[in-house]
């Protein structure tokens, strides 16, 4: 019986994959919050010269350690001034540039290194895989904070040095994840099919493998960006990262630390912004993993 009005014959009218992705993104509050905050802070960082009310380097001994507005300060310095009389809001805004720049470039460098290693290991297997796995083990055994501190101290703490050191140290997770993803993808039939029609290795890697592991790469890039930002802040806090007078949030916490007893906001504000940025990037990364994962977390 083919009676179209019979409720039991109704066909499954499922949503398309694209509809489902859109629905997942819209339904994922964490992802939306993360993207929103990261977008806002990126916007602030780019427009820092326009948005900052003062020169972040301009010292004024007459107006040192003025409290923020909500603690009885004036709108001239909405978040107060530091121990050298520099406008705290302006330093915070320029600090977003430092954090985002270091996070993005370091994640990019380590992403290039780690992806190359991971894809090579996963694709070629055998000896290449053994060497890469060994290098990952060696890298994991090195205490990251200590090595980064030592190298930055020896080479001198400029922005470039910090970025390069972090970029050269944080490739481990890229290598681990990309190796596993490549292993999985290169077992699929379409890779065998590409090989069987004589496609070259670079071509297979670029057209068959990379597009299929790109989701995972994006997720790791965001998570490692957060990692790099936290590490830079820790290095600068310890006085062996970005050097004064560059406005780095970690450095601001470190400078405020001595006045913490009397002016805790000097520590609270830059730390809170740092926390917020890292939280937002992590939410974005976790969210991206959730929405792009084949089987979604319930």
């Amino acid at each position: 019986m083919t009676d179209a009005t019979d409720p039991l014959t109704r066909e499954w009218q499922g949503p398309t994959p694209r509809d489902m992705l859109v629905a997942k993104v819209k339904g994922h509050t964490g992802l939306l919050i993360g993207v929103g905050i990261v977008g806002l802070l990126t916007f602030v960082a780019i427009l820092a010269p326009v948005l900052a009310p003062h020169d972040p380097y301009a010292q004024s001994l007459m107006t040192r350690m003025e409290p923020p507005v909500f603690l009885g300060g004036t709108w001239e310095h909405p978040l107060g001034t530091d121990h050298l009389g520099r406008d705290y809001l302006s330093r915070l805004i320029y600090g977003a540039r430092v954090s985002l720049l270091i996070g993005a470039v370091a994640a990019l460098i380590s992403g290039l290194i780690g992806t190359a290693m991971g894809v090579a290991a996963g694709y070629f297997g055998g000896k290449v895989d053994m060497v890469v796995t060994f290098l990952i083990n060696v890298r994991l055994a090195m205490p990251v904070v200590l090595v980064a501190l030592a190298v930055v101290a020896i080479l001198g703490g400029s922005l470039t040095v910090v970025i390069c050191v972090l970029g050269l140290l944080l490739w481990d997770r890229f290598a681990v994840v990309m190796r596993a993803s490549t292993l999985q993808v290169s077992r699929r039939d379409y890779v065998a099919a590409a090989r069987s029609i004589g496609a070259s290795t670079p071509r297979i890697v670029l057209t068959e493998i990379m597009p299929n592991i790109f989701n995972n790469l994006i997720v790791v890039i965001t998570l490692e960006m957060a990692h790099a930002i936290l590490l830079e802040a820790a290095l600068s806090f310890l006085g062996l990262g970005v050097q004064p007078p560059t406005p780095s949030w970690g450095l601001m916490v470190s400078e405020g630390k001595n006045m913490m007893l009397f002016e805790p906001w000097l520590v609270l504000i830059p730390g809170a912004v740092l926390f917020l940025l890292v939280l937002a990037i992590n939410l974005m990364g976790d969210g991206l993993r959730d929405v792009t994962a084949p089987e979604n977390r319930s």
Binding site: F134, A141, L146, I154, V253, M260, V267, V278, L279, S298
Partner: protein, 305 residues
């Protein structure tokens, strides 16, 4: 199981040697260690003299060989700053760091495992959401900032705990929380995922069909299987934590090995830094090796293999 242990031991040794070579190379990263040692005001003759005394004029591999041989005998040279044997300096400071590490990982396990189990029993419940929030927040929290906040609140405002130092057990509470909170999210997430996975497995249904009570099902049948990967994660985290103790020790002025590392880096005391990097790496290597062995022993499928 023995072949597995031997293979794993071989890898650990190989990694250890590679790490030792890399930390040795650090000395040469600065260009001329003799010049660094002599200081900025030294004359060319002084630098040459130091070069000869310390043997920096010989081939690098020879120097590495010598350094390694003495390091294996527990001799890491003399600190540029303290003019004392590095090994003694580190040994003296290591106790504080070890106490901190053990307390930190215990704190992390004692909070993260129950929370992970509770979250897995009732997914999407309030407990699950709180656990998720704590782990997301924990991963984003800069540990130095968290430490400072705890000092402001508990030491300064409430006056309950000392802000710094290492004299009594009360000095270790805040650093333990900060260090432990760093390892908590990963352990919590793995426990939750593992419990969710095992609770959906067929053998849990078998246990229920036997008439086992909920407590027995959860702890004897599910947790026993879910905890296996948590053990190795905890060991890895312990290794990371010792390396990360440098930040916590500097915030709380705990004079442990991490604090020594910080001081030595600031003072350009390269032999001490080298030795500390090596020591922290060795801890990581030993912990992960032990974790893998323990893991294999806990999992019958690997034990009999």
């Amino acid at each position: 199981m023995l072949p597995f242990i031997l293979k794993r031991l071989g890898l650990a040794l190989l990694v250890a040697f590679t790490v030792s070579f890399i930390s040795f190379l650090l000395l040469f990263l600065s260009g001329d260690p003799a010049a660094a040692l002599a200081g900025e005001t030294a004359s060319g003759e002084d630098i040459e003299a130091i070069r000869r005394v310390y043997g920096f004029d010989r081939p690098m591999l020879v120097q590495y060989g010598e350094w390694l041989v003495s390091a294996l005998q527990g001799d890491f040279g003399e600190s540029y700053y303290f003019k004392l044997p590095v090994a003694g300096l580190i040994a003296e400071r290591l106790q504080v760091t070890m106490i901190l590490g053990v307390c930190g990982i215990s704190f992390a396990l004692l909070t993260a495992v129950p929370l992970g189990v509770a979250a897995a029993i009732r997914p999407n419940s309030i407990v699950d959401r709180v656990a998720l929030f704590m782990s997301v927040a924990g991963q984003a929290m800069p540990s130095f900032w968290f430490g400072l906040i705890l000092i402001v609140v508990f030491a300064i405002q409430l006056g309950m705990l000392p802000p710094s130092g290492a004299e009594t057990w009360r000095h270790f509470i805040l650093p333990t929380v900060v260090l432990g909170y760093y390892a908590m999210p990963a352990i919590m997430r793995l426990t939750r995922a593992g419990m969710l996975d095992t609770l959906n497995s067929d053998y849990i249904r078998t246990a229920r069909a036997k008439g086992a009570g909920e407590g027995r099902v959860l702890f004897k049948h599910a947790l026993r299987n879910a905890i296996i990967p948590v053990v190795s994660l905890a060991a890895v985290q312990m290794g990371f934590m010792l390396g990360g103790s440098i930040v916590v020790e500097s915030v709380f002025a705990l004079h442990g090995a991490g604090y020594l590392a910080w001081e030595s880096i600031a003072r350009n005391d390269l032999p001490t830094v080298q030795a500390l990097i090596l020591v922290f790496s060795m801890f990581y290597i030993v912990f992960t090796f032990l974790a893998d062995v323990l893991n294999a022993w806990l999992d019958p499928r690997m034990r009999s293999a």
